[in-house]
Symmetry: C2
Subunit: 405 residues, 2 copies
């Protein structure tokens, strides 16, 4: 059955066939068939269909692709957040608090929390989400997190190398053997990606050699690579990500010129960030997570430097209980515009097509013919409103695989 | 009929009887009768009632009091916003664009937009809102705006002196005569407040003498005073507000020590901003509007300086199409914590009891016995989540005058 979605005042397609940048079609319609996009264009030219839905003069964008989240966990760290914001001393355990709560939680508890967060994301227009492990840091809990995550999304990431847990503080090599050995073996069946928090400046994170070992072991196990890099210092994360062919390096707050060159070089002459609709290439995307800088009161990454160098940029939430617990891609877009001087169009591209490139997906993040019919409907006349009306829940409905969610 | 609202994991009352600051009651219940709060306390001590509603272990706060908005207007300025954010030249008319669109709009169009925005605010937990005129700048349109605003809220503000319209650019005295004469006469029946944009640094705003004339005329007509002051420069707005006994001076971005002293002095030894539940006093509240600084990429006001001096602080959205189009008090709270270093508790107090003080209302902004039963239910275990989860629509339901909205 074919379905016409019509009365769309502004349709964002990320389809170069409809123009540069966002491929915007005014006064548009979309035809959906078998869960895929069958046609997009001006409403006056729409083909006949079996049924039609009037979207009430709203704006339609591709569903957000949130390519970096940690939405399977237990407990919260609201008190730690409040202490950080007010500058008061806090004696909690940071990430260790979440690791302890996640290990102690039942599978049902973890599943319920993960389901609730993914539902919350979907209601806010996110139709594709990546979810990492990393709060288990033992074989049983890491693999449990990934089994649950896999129920929620195909984009699951093994992050056993998130931090070194307290019980291995004096035996980092032992933890590396676990992460690259039995834990990897237990997790790989449930994961698409391997990830590592590469940050020599953080004593419980991983240095260059350790990170390389983790990534190479994951690659050997058939996983694809992504990296947490350059969040706290201009460390080796970006260069390592490019070296191993990672799809994305995430955070990118502290970059050297060589880092920027490496990222740009990974794409050769491939799609730049304003090449709207360019499918995923073979290079490494720079994924920026400004909600973390918001919630940690840290300096924001320099998005313009990356864009000027032609590096594809993705935006994601990093939704997690410690450094930033927002699940809102609209909020991330608003921050990207306000704090990183991305244009509203660049930010939306990065939150959709950019995220898809960071996940090496060509079926989401755009509304070209053949794409999944994942659509977010905004109660607004244009995509600019995502930044123009910060904090306002503008998403009025969401379609996932051709069905109203 | 008495109604028990129960299974409240954290109840914020702003009632000193329940403790300093926010007057928090854990594991609480509320009794509502005839649209008012009849009892609050631990659920185990709740009196028997005719009916009960289980709030599912959520957090309940007083409905937000948004004491500064401009939500009756026509048109939008999304293109101006985008140009400002990207640093591109923009040749639009600024506020004159909104004045032209508002004058040209039908009463039905203005009413529909205002209703939609107030509904949007209510859905986000705002149960009391102030609405200003100021986009008419002629007798017919100013009074039309206020008639519509009065349908939406009792807190209506005559702001004929928002800017000097183009047709009076060479006759400021003539516009002042209009604002203090026939326009005031037409508007006063629909308004509770008189306001002026006192800002010598802005050529189309009003200087000290002009502002005093506007405020004194409004006071003579039976209105109460509030002031837009010290937004762009350390001008005379704050001192004038205190001089005329204004309930609030709004913006307060640029303050001298004398300004801070004047605000503190206006309260004598009255309630400070952490006196949670202190009823409105006779002084002048400092109302901060950080969503404007967000959307104009401007420096934020120094909330801590005001709090340290004992000045009661209110937070409001300033929802308007030009300088900040957010209607979200949750977003304002998150900005206040991140950007102005207010604690989550201070920010929530300012967004509820502070707003009530800025409107000289003692029936809203708190949940003491006798208050209006205006309650916002958060899908969160504590009020800290408003800042901990920025951008996430946490409001799960809203009660207004004892009824689910």
């Amino acid at each position: 059955m074919s379905m016409l979605l019509t009365n769309i005042v502004e349709l964002v397609t990320n389809d170069p066939a409809h123009g540069d940048g966002l491929g915007i079609v005014p006064d548009a319609a979309v035809v959906v068939q078998a869960g895929r996009i069958a046609w997009t264009g001006p409403a006056v030219s729409a083909p006949s269909t079996d049924a039609a839905v009037d979207l009430g003069g709203r704006c339609v964008i591709p569903g957000f692709v949130d390519s970096h989240s940690h939405t399977v966990f237990a407990g919260d760290r609201a008190a730690e957040f409040a202490a950080r914001m007010t500058g008061e001393p806090y004696t909690g355990g940071g990430i260790a608090t979440t690791v302890a709560a996640t290990r102690a939680a039942s599978e049902d508890t973890l599943r319920a929390r993960g389901q609730a967060l993914v539902r919350e994301m979907l209601a806010q227009g996110t139709t594709t989400v990546e979810i990492k492990s990393g709060y288990g840091q033992d074989v049983v809990t890491e693999s449990r997190m990934l089994r649950i995550a896999r129920e929620l999304t195909p984009e699951t990431t093994y992050l056993g190398a998130h931090t070194v847990p307290a019980e291995y503080a004096d035996d980092r090599a032992g933890y590396l053997r676990l992460v690259t050995g039995p834990m990897l073996a237990a997790c790989a069946p449930h994961a698409r990606w391997v990830d590592v928090f590469c940050e020599p400046a953080a004593p419980t994170a991983f240095d260059e050699d350790e990170s390389r070992a983790v990534l190479r072991a994951g690659l050997r196990a058939g996983l694809l690579a992504r990296v947490h890099g350059n969040q706290l210092s201009a460390g080796p994360g970006v260069r390592l990500a490019v070296e191993v062919g990672a799809a994305s390096v995430d955070h990118c707050t502290h970059l050297t010129d060589a880092d920027v060159d490496a990222l740009a070089g990974s794409w050769g002459s491939g799609p730049g960030p304003t090449a709207g609709g360019g499918g995923p290439g073979p290079g490494t995307v720079a994924t920026l997570l400004p909600a973390v800088e918001f919630s940690t009161r840290s300096p924001y990454p320099d998005a313009r430097r990356l864009l000027a160098a032609g590096v594809p940029v993705a935006l994601a939430t990093d939704c997690n209980p410690g450094s930033g617990y927002s699940s809102s891609m609209s909020f991330v877009v608003a921050l990207a515009v306000r704090e990183m001087r991305m244009s509203p169009a660049e930010a939306l591209w990065s939150a959709t097509a950019g995220g898809a490139a960071a996940l090496r997906r060509d079926d989401v993040g755009h509304l070209r013919v053949g794409a999944r019919a994942d659509l977010t409907v905004l109660d607004a006349p244009s995509h600019t409103y995502l930044a123009y009306r910060p904090g306002v829940p503008l998403v009025s409905e969401v379609w996932k695989d051709g069905n109203r969610a």
